[in-house]
């Protein structure tokens, strides 16, 4: 066998260090709580409620991203226009903004001092301390992940397929439904997973807009603050297990469908 250069061993060791860096804390956390503690935690109504609220609001954020983000991603993938880079940068903006700033920014237009806040309050819609507020925040932080994933998906479909479909008599919408969507839905699903994963992990912005009702990360934080590490670990274990199972199911569904095709 050829003797490897030292550089090869540098790359290998870096890889090992990074793996350990990611996995060690997670494994330690998963292994820490005893089974009885885990059982007690999941019987705690507050915990169940907050995990459910987290999943439900993150799912809604993903759904909203899907409805509004898909057409936008399509336009960005298919057309070139002046200011396209600007639009793309604006979409990426929520990724770069510190999370508490997102919360403060959203509150500043949702308050009574702002015309939009006025309209919302007249309509009976409350952002501060409400599920609506949580969904708004989660959509804000999750949307870029959806749009970017789906844009890449659309870009990988040759425009010629759509051209041929149009030339055969299909309208733009019909072409989208029969050609583009069936070829891009997998990237949409990936976008939904990315978007909801990002939404599930949001803490900083939510804690400012809605401490109550408590989503799981906020509950986790509260347990940590009031009772310490030991009592927050079981909640964390349940939160990430449930999320992992959900994502796994979604992934399996896509793999299953791929085989069918």
């Amino acid at each position: 066998m050829v003797k490897k250069e030292p550089f090869f061993w540098v790359t290998v060791s870096c890889g090992v260090i990074i793996m350990a860096f990611i996995l060690l804390p997670l494994i330690q956390m998963l292994a820490a709580p005893s089974l009885t503690m885990l059982k007690e935690t999941i019987q705690d109504k507050n915990v169940v409620r907050s995990i459910w609220l987290s999943i439900y609001t993150a799912g809604l954020a993903a759904l909203i991203s899907f409805l509004f983000g898909t057409p936008l991603a399509y336009i960005l993938a298919r057309t070139n226009f002046r200011g396209k880079h600007l639009v793309e940068s604006i979409i990426d903006l929520p990724i770069a903004i510190p999370h508490p700033v997102v919360g403060i920014a959203i509150l500043s237009i949702a308050g009574k001092g702002h015309w939009l806040g006025q309209i919302l309050s007249e309509l009976g819609i409350r952002i501060m301390g409400s599920v609506t507020g949580i969904v708004v925040v989660l959509t804000f932080v999750g949307l870029p992940f959806y749009v970017n994933a789906v844009k890449n998906g659309f870009e990988s479909i040759p425009p010629r397929l759509e051209n041929v479909s149009r030339s055969l008599g299909a309208s733009m919408f019909s072409t989208f439904a029969r050609i583009t969507f069936p070829l891009a839905w997998r990237s949409m699903l990936i976008g939904i997973i990315m978007c909801s994963a990002r939404a599930l992990s949001e803490f900083g912005a939510v804690v400012i807009v809605a401490y109550h009702p408590m989503i799981a990360p906020v509950l986790l934080y509260e347990r940590f603050e009031s009772y310490g590490l030991k009592y927050s670990q079981p909640v964390a274990v349940w939160l990430i297990s449930i999320c992992l199972i959900l994502f796994l199911v979604l992934r399996l569904l896509t793999l299953h469908n791929r085989k069918e095709q």
Partner: protein, 345 residues
């Protein structure tokens, strides 16, 4: 049938300028030119797939310049086939029937006829990714023709295919064109291909039309050096035939077999012409004496211009042959080629 008037298109760096042409109904028209001349853009403009800056496109007396592609009745077949990868061959072919008002029975009949004509019956359930290039091309043709378009646009339909499939598809195209009223408009950069399929053609270069007319005129009376270079590259000659003998001006050339009655041209690939300093006896039936009038370095090989009487031949040789034969401008040379190396059409 197709009338293009003062068409101009700007696509970033690329421009099509003042394109004018008329194509008769039911004809087989060819658009030729080197890569980047704007042939595909012009096709897509006729199909309504690129924005038009200026000018008009009229199809069958109707101005379609502002119509969306689905309202034009123009089919398109791309060089890379552009088959829908998630649909079976059958679903690909019948895709357009959803939008075309056609009696179920007529549609079924047309489907069967095309499947039969293009020999697709054993492929219907397969996915396009598992097909060969020639099979893909046949599916793409069936898909475009099933809706009976007024115009069928073909973007280099033969160039991506293996030579064995090429001949098969070429014949298929000829048959399909003869059977339908559809006007065929084909893009190619191969002059011999164009000659064998169509009667009229346009030569494009850098977004402009250099010459438009019947194949014979373009070939015999090129109106610019560009066109002359473009069509003259390939040792193509108008010829009169008698038995297995072709007469090109004063030269008599022996063919391997008797050409069809409708043939009027012969072509020899430059690499099939063998050069020699001294005459030698060989099994090659065609031997001529000529003069070298040009030596052009093409990188991997040299392109040699030879004059035999008043006829210009092109040959290709390697660098080492160039030195061994001591080839230079003005020197005498003997050229040989096999009768089987001559294509007639």
């Amino acid at each position: 049938m197709i009338s293009i008037q003062n068409l101009s298109i700007c696509l970033g760096e690329f421009h099509l300028q003042d394109i004018n042409m008329d194509i008769e109904k039911g004809s087989f028209f060819t658009l030729m030119g080197p890569t980047g001349a704007g042939k595909t853009v012009l096709l897509e403009a006729i199909a309504g797939l690129v924005p038009i800056h200026k000018g008009n496109i009229i199809l069958g007396g109707k101005n379609v310049t502002r119509l969306p592609p689905e309202k034009r009745g123009v089919g398109i077949v791309y060089q890379d086939y552009a088959l829908f990868p998630h649909l079976s061959v059958l679903a690909n072919i019948t895709y357009g029937l959803h939008y075309r008002k056609m009696k179920r029975k007529d549609a079924q009949e047309r489907l069967e006829q095309l499947i039969d004509e293009l020999n697709l019956s054993h492929l219907l359930k397969r996915l396009p990714t598992n097909l060969s290039g020639g099979e893909n091309q046949r599916v793409a043709l069936a898909r475009a023709l099933i809706v009976d378009p007024k115009v069928l646009l073909l973007d280099e339909p033969l160039s991506a295919l293996d030579p064995s499939f090429r001949e098969e598809i070429r014949k298929g195209l000829q048959r399909l064109h003869a059977q339908s009223d559809t006007t065929f408009l084909m893009v190619t950069h191969d002059f011999a291909e164009a000659l064998s399929l169509s009667d009229r053609a346009a030569i494009m270069n850098r977004g402009k039309i250099e010459q438009i007319g019947c194949m014979k005129d373009i070939f015999q009376k090129p109106n610019s050096t560009f066109v002359a270079d473009f069509v003259g590259m390939k040792n193509l000659f108008a010829a009169q035939f008698k038995d297995t003998r072709a007469t090109v001006d004063s030269l008599e050339i022996e063919l391997a077999r008797r050409p069809s009655k409708d043939h009027g041209y012969i072509a020899i690939r430059p690499e099939d012409i063998v050069l020699s300093k001294e005459p030698f006896s060989s099994s090659m039936r065609n031997a001529f004496r000529g003069v070298i009038t040009g030596v052009l370095d093409q990188g991997l090989y040299y392109e040699i211009d030879l004059m035999v009487n008043d006829i210009l031949f092109k040959s290709m040789i390697t660098k080492s042959s160039l030195f061994e034969l001591d080839i230079r401008d003005g020197s005498d040379i003997y050229l040989y080629f096999k009768s089987a190396a001559i294509h007639s059409f």
